[in-house]
Amino acid sequence: MQYKSPARTAFVIFNTIFLTLTAILCVLPFFQLLAVSFSSSSAVEGGRVIFWPVKFTLASYEFAIMGGKFTAAIFISFKRVLLGTGLSLLLIILTAYPLSRPKDRFAFRNIYMVYFVTTMIISGGLIPTYILVTKLGLLNSLWALVLPYSLPVFSMIIMMNFIRGLPDEIEEAAIIDGAGVFQILGQIMLPLLTPAIATVGLFSIVGHWNDWFSGLIYMQSTKLYPLQTYLQTLIMNFDLMLRMAQGDFTKLLALMNARTGRASQLFLGALPVLIVYPFIQKYFTTGLVLGSVKG
């Protein structure tokens, strides 16, 4: 046991308090949001809600699920995440494998590399891309949300470096056994890539789930909005949402207002990420070292 000076003890106590306060401060706003979402409008308007619901009610949640387009939007988001991540993973794996081969085995490797990396350095930007998507007739189609960034070059490089880190002998043995390129990739490499697939797959899932901007510019009807785009319009304009709601909600509306309505839907929108976050966090952290070349 190391000797601890009084100064050290004081530091440790101060440090623990400081870190705890910072951590609490980071998540406190979300607790406030949660408390507001479960409170009735009268309590919220009176400024009585702090970190605990006052006059508990589920009205705003009921409204979110029954009323507006929340459930439809969440469904569109799920479809988009599945389609987008599936496509990205496929392209990442197909591309990363040949590019991970050294130049003397694949003569065109560096040409392709420059071709892909250039798009990381310079891009046409918002408007030419928007015009292109429009001209291709992709407006209002789910493809407009997944095709333009279907190959995330960053993730591809992570995957490429991961494959490079695998022992060379694996491929050499397979070649000697007469395996072709597709066989090596599909049957030998693919099972070994699981950790890298988990990491870049999660990047893609979170990216697609959180993206709201493509939905805003490429979807011309609020009915087609993915969740985050829908939430974005909701924050800007809750009244519009009320007008869009179909059915009779007089009873619910008496217990809620724009603030509680927004709070509950924002919380529901964050919920999927919050639920899976503790389980996937590991992969994000391992992802930090995944891309580096070992040895």
Partner: protein, 314 residues
């Protein structure tokens, strides 16, 4: 985004070759690459070509082949006082965010590193990393709620005798609200990176220092800081490429015409001009201006990262 580059550290070529170049094998490599190459051509290279409409008067019918007007769009742009203001706002916000995004996670990870219990360390990391995974839409929704006139922050301020502050509607305060909230959302990521660097420091160095009679503070100054420095340098260099990205998602969801003066950035300007007002050509001119400068900055940052920190991106 720049921080992601860390994951892609790659030094030199792996030059093991016990096999003759095999053309059949290479053909199959091409087949694997074609789908991605085609999609990249369509969605990255065609828009790049589309930048030429910055020199044209865009006509929706003719698309990328509209009448040429030379530099007229750029002239119009630089004659607008709003545009110059936009550039200043962009650079100011992103430089402040870069500084905050380096100092805060550094200090936090140094303090966190002093915590001995691994479980406690991990809990802190997990908690401060959460906002990173939520979209700016959600974060903005939360901020609008807590920062509004009758939100919890102003109610608390009122209780301790401070007049309500208009965090999102005052040109003197708005940029700082953006900077601090950006740090709030992203410092968990930096903390994870720096902490990973700190845990990889050879414990032998500390043991030697203890033998030499160095106390904690001396150890921090003479071992921890120098070991952390390359990572700090690298992160700083890599953020350079992002100087013209001041955070569209954040600003767009939090600003309003009242704070255009202090909060309007190049990206929000392009969006309003190009998409909302359908001035495609002028909007693209702004985009081209930004793309060009960004490309130079990115290339410079890659060069410096290689030169001074020994990191290659690919």
């Amino acid at each position: 985004m720049a921080a992601l580059l860390l994951k892609t550290i790659y030094k030199g070529d792996v030059s093991v070759n016990s096999f003759k170049t095999n053309l059949r094998r290479q053909w199959q490599y091409h087949v694997l690459l074609i789908p991605a190459a085609v999609l990249i051509f369509i969605f990255s290279y065609i828009p790049l070509y589309g930048l030429i409409i910055a020199f044209q008067r865009f006509n929706p019918g003719t698309g990328f082949h509209s009448p040429w007007v030379g530099l007229a769009n750029f002239e119009r742009l630089f004659n607008q006082p709003n545009f110059v203001r936009t550039i200043w706002n962009t650079v100011f916000l992103s430089v402040m965010k870069i500084i905050g995004g380096i100092v805060v996670p550094d200090v936090f990870s140094l303090l966190l590193n002093e915590v001995r219990r691994t479980s406690a360390k991990r809990t802190f990391q997990t908690v401060v990393y959460i906002p990173n995974f939520l979209s700016w839409v959600i974060m903005a929704g939360v901020m609008i709620d807590i920062l509004s006139a009758d939100g919890i922050v102003n109610l608390t301020l009122l209780k301790i005798g401070i007049n309500p502050i208009s965090f999102l509607g005052n040109n003197n305060i708005f940029p700082w609200t953006m900077i601090i909230s950006d740090i709030w959302k992203s410092f968990g990521f930096g903390t994870v990176i720096y902490l990973a660097t700190l845990t990889s420091i050879d414990p032998g160095l500390y043991e030697a220092a203890i033998v030499d009679g160095a106390k904690r503070w001396k150890q921090t100054v003479h071992i921890t800081m120098p070991m952390l420095m390359p990572m700090i340098v690298l992160m700083t260099i890599l953020s350079m490429g992002n100087i013209l990205n001041a955070g569209f998602d954040q600003i767009y969801n939090l600003y309003s015409p009242i704070v255009y003066q202090s909060g309007d950035i190049i990206d929000t300007y392009v969006y309003r001009l190009g998409i909302l007002q359908a001035q495609y050509s002028v909007g693209t001119a702004v985009g081209l201006f930004k793309s060009g400068i960004s490309a130079i900055l990115i290339l410079m940052s890659y060069y410096f990262a290689d030169r001074f920190a020994g990191y290659r991106v690919f």
